[in-house]
């Protein structure tokens, strides 16, 4: 029941935020922020296991649902505060709340067709709203509408494709005979493998894996980085989790034959390697963020190569933890862009010296992204890679873990370099006290203090935003350490 209330609140406040954001920015942000906080409270109060039946389908809130709801709603509350500080039309909190509502319901629902339909419907807002109303370079950019259109097609198309293969699986003449796995003869094996490849194709389209990444790359460079986690990190994670659950339950490990396994590994490693390399060679932080998310999705795809229960559990940990980490990175990228105006490494020399809180936050993000042995994220990545490629998996996992060390390390090194003129000209990242007394104000000290709050907040906008990133970095470290209870 708690999950239903959470979904209703998130859906209601999310849609309300989207609807009023065009005319009344402050009201939209207030609704979004209140909605995020209420959803966070509900997520924290949600029991680990709770079940009910709605419309003939069981809904069970599991530890993974709870972990995802808590991590997503907590990061959303911080993103809402950052959106207030950054300015512009609100395009982040509303779609994120809608995405959170449908993701929670989809993960809890025991009917995969309902889950996929809901995810496809709810995921579109994360692309359409920022695409139509939040293009950073202005609404006249020629890339805006085609990119948004392609993104819409990708999200709806992946959902429809998944819906089709789920229907095929439930068909009396499908690979499962409509009611559970049938005996594995060559024809049935072929059907199972085909069904697995189709659901993997849907996942590849939804997550924007290479070579289907062009729209995703254009989208990520066009919108505020704050809008990226809802569309890609969290939205993709929910889609992959539902697809993975369906594949494990309805297809089973037998579906991944040698040929299917090779194809899946090839597709996953293409995104892991090329995504990592692209993140290393690009100089702008939005591309680094975008390609690192693609790389994470590539690692998650490896779970489809074996579908063993232990691997699926690792994928759950990986998806939730990496989404939290990338949300923190997206917040960092936004704050850097807002504070210093630039987004290329050449323009960001000495950013960490200029804003120590932001530097500490980035250090936390760096550690969480790479992971340490015994951290859930590190172990999940190792399990995913090793299960898909026994023998070389352990070494390859270390190689993959080293990639974020390189592309995030470049940003860290730039932060420790001498302060560049562009960074020096930006807002100060250090807190300062303006004196706390408004000119001409002569009433009592309490009134003075209250009166001074807006001015102090404005004067300390940059350090406050850095504190928000720091909070997200702590969250990322906690999730990377504890995982999703998968």
């Amino acid at each position: 029941m708690t999950l239903l209330i959470l979904a209703a609140v998130a859906l209601g406040t999310g849609i309300a935020t989207i609807l009023v954001s065009g005319e009344r920015r402050s009201l939209a942000l207030a609704i979004g922020l209140v909605g995020s906080l209420v959803v966070l409270a509900l997520a924290l109060a949600m029991p680990d296991t709770e079940s009910l039946i709605i419309g003939g389908v069981g809904m069970i809130s599991t530890p993974v649902v709870r972990a995802m709801a808590v991590a997503w709603s907590a990061s959303l509350a911080v993103l809402g505060l950052l959106e207030i500080a950054v300015g512009g039309r609100p395009t982040v909190v509303g779609p994120s709340l809608v995405g959170l509502a449908v993701a929670g319901l989809a993960l809890a629902t025991r009917d995969p067709a309902s889950s996929m339909a809901a995810l496809a419907a709810g995921g579109v807002a994360g692309v359409v709203v920022p695409g139509l109303a939040g293009w950073l370079d202005g609404p006249d950019m020629p890339s805006r509408l085609p990119t948004t259109s392609r993104g819409t097609l990708a999200i709806l198309g992946s959902g429809l494709l998944a819906l089709a293969v789920i229907a095929w699986g439930a068909s009396p003449a499908g690979p499962l005979g409509g009611g559970g796995r049938i005996s594995i003869d060559p024809a049935a094996q072929l059907s199972l493998g085909l069904a697995l490849l189709v659901i993997v194709a849907a996942v590849a389209i939804r997550t924007g894996l290479i070579p289907l990444h062009v729209w995703a790359a254009r989208f990520m460079e066009g919108v505020s980085p704050l809008a990226i986690p809802a569309a890609f990190a969290w939205g993709s994670a929910a889609f992959v989790l539902v697809a993975l659950d369906w594949s494990q339950v309805f297809l089973g490990p037998a579906a991944a034959g040698d040929a299917e396994r090779l194809l899946i590994i090839f597709l996953a490693l293409t995104s892991v390697v090329l995504g990592g390399l692209a993140a290393m060679v690009h100089d702008d932080v939005e591309h680094v963020l975008g390609y690192s998310i693609l790389q994470d999705a590539g690692v998650a795809l490896l779970a489809f190569a074996s579908l063993e229960p232990g691997v699926v559990a690792a994928a759950r940990n990986w998806l939730v933890a990496s989404a939290t980490v990338k949300t923190a990175l997206a917040a960092w990228a936004t704050v850097v862009r807002t504070t210093y105006g630039g987004h290329r490494l050449d323009d960001l020399g000495g950013w960490a010296r200029h804003s120590p809180a932001l530097g500490v936050a980035f250090a936390g993000i760096l550690v969480a992204a790479i992971g340490l042995p015994n951290m859930a994220l590190f172990q999940a990545r190792t399990d995913l890679v090793a299960s898909a490629m026994p023998g070389i998996g352990q070494i390859l996992a270390l190689f993959i873990a080293a990639m974020p060390a390189i592309y995030l390390g470049r940003i860290a090194i730039a932060g420790l370099a001498p302060v560049s003129p562009a960074v020096a000209a930006g807002m100060s990242g250090r807190p300062r006290w303006r004196g706390g007394r408004a000119v001409g104000w002569s009433e009592g000290p309490l009134t003075q203090a209250i009166r001074a709050i807006p001015g102090e907040l404005r004067a300390n906008r940059a350090p406050l935003m850095a504190l928000g990133v720091l909070a997200l970095a702590v969250m990322a470290l906690l999730t990377a350490t504890g995982g999703a209870g998968g």
């Binding site: 709605i54 419309g55 003939g56 389908v57 629902t109 009917d111 067709a113 309902s114 889950s115 339909a117 809901a118 496809a120 419907a121 709810g122 579109v124 807002a125 359409v128 139509l132 609404p139 006249d140 509408l145 085609p146 948004t148 259109s149 819409t152 097609l153 709806l156 959902g159 429809l160 819906l163 089709a164 789920i166 229907a167 095929w168 699986g169 439930a170 068909s171 009396p172 003449a173 499908g174 005979g177 409509g178 009611g179 049938i182």
Partner: protein, 228 residues
């Protein structure tokens, strides 16, 4: 064979052909409304009143949103004309019937219990023989789905941005939803709600993109706006 269902399938095809081929925006939206409402009724037996209401309301909502988009955008009739679109829809429906018969044959040949009213059902004359499936409601639903898929795919993938692409998006979404029922059987109530939510979102997204596209175009002569 249920003649009422056949009539509904014909209405779906006719409405969809009108939606993608006409130059008149109002007629296009009307055709879409006919296709979607008829799709809501394509079921034997009919679902509960609540489910039926959800389906019809969603269909009308989508048609209304597309109508608002058509009003603001340029006219985008079919480049090949309605006879070609009608033939395409017919070909799609025939392919759907073939798919349904093939599925029934495969199921019957495999000796699998179907458990669903529809393809491969034992008719009054006795059990189903491989290749001898009667034309059942599931086969007709599959045919309607493939027909809409054939009509909607081209505007969706190759159409210019605007209302035609929005109509293609709605038709393809409805096509997959029909195929889902035609292939795997009736949906539970929760899935019905999710399905109709998906249809409404597809319509809203298509309409929003079409309106944004129309707004980004340079000013045109009044005659090119279908709503004027």
């Amino acid at each position: 064979m249920n003649l009422a269902l056949v009539a509904i399938v014909l209405a779906i095809g006719a409405g969809a052909v009108l939606a993608v081929s006409t130059r008149d925006g109002a007629a296009s939206a009307t055709g879409l409304a006919v296709a979607l409402v008829a799709s809501a009724l394509l079921s034997d037996p009919l679902p509960s009143a609540a489910v039926l209401a959800v389906r019809v309301v969603a269909a009308l909502l989508v048609a209304t949103m597309i109508r608002s988009a058509v009003r603001s955008g340029p006219r985008q009739p079919s480049p090949v004309g309605w006879p070609s679109e009608a033939l395409l829809a017919t070909a799609g429906a025939v392919a759907g019937l073939g798919l349904a018969v093939g599925l029934a044959s495969a199921a019957a040949a495999g000796g699998l219990g179907l458990g669903l009213p529809g393809i491969g059902d034992a008719g009054p004359g006795g059990p189903v023989e491989p290749g001898g499936t009667a034309l059942t409601s599931m086969a007709l639903i599959t045919a309607a789905g493939t027909s809409l898929l054939a009509l909607g795919a081209a505007p969706l993938v190759h159409g210019r941005p605007g209302t035609r692409r929005a109509i293609g998006l709605v038709l393809v979404t409805q096509a997959v939803l029909l195929l889902r029922i035609g292939v795997a059987g009736p949906a539970v109530e929760l899935e019905e709600i999710a399905r109709e939510g998906l249809l409404v979102v597809a319509g809203a997204t298509g309409a929003a993109l079409a309106i944004a596209t129309a707004g980004s175009m340079p000013a045109r002569e009044d005659g090119e706006r279908s709503g004027t």
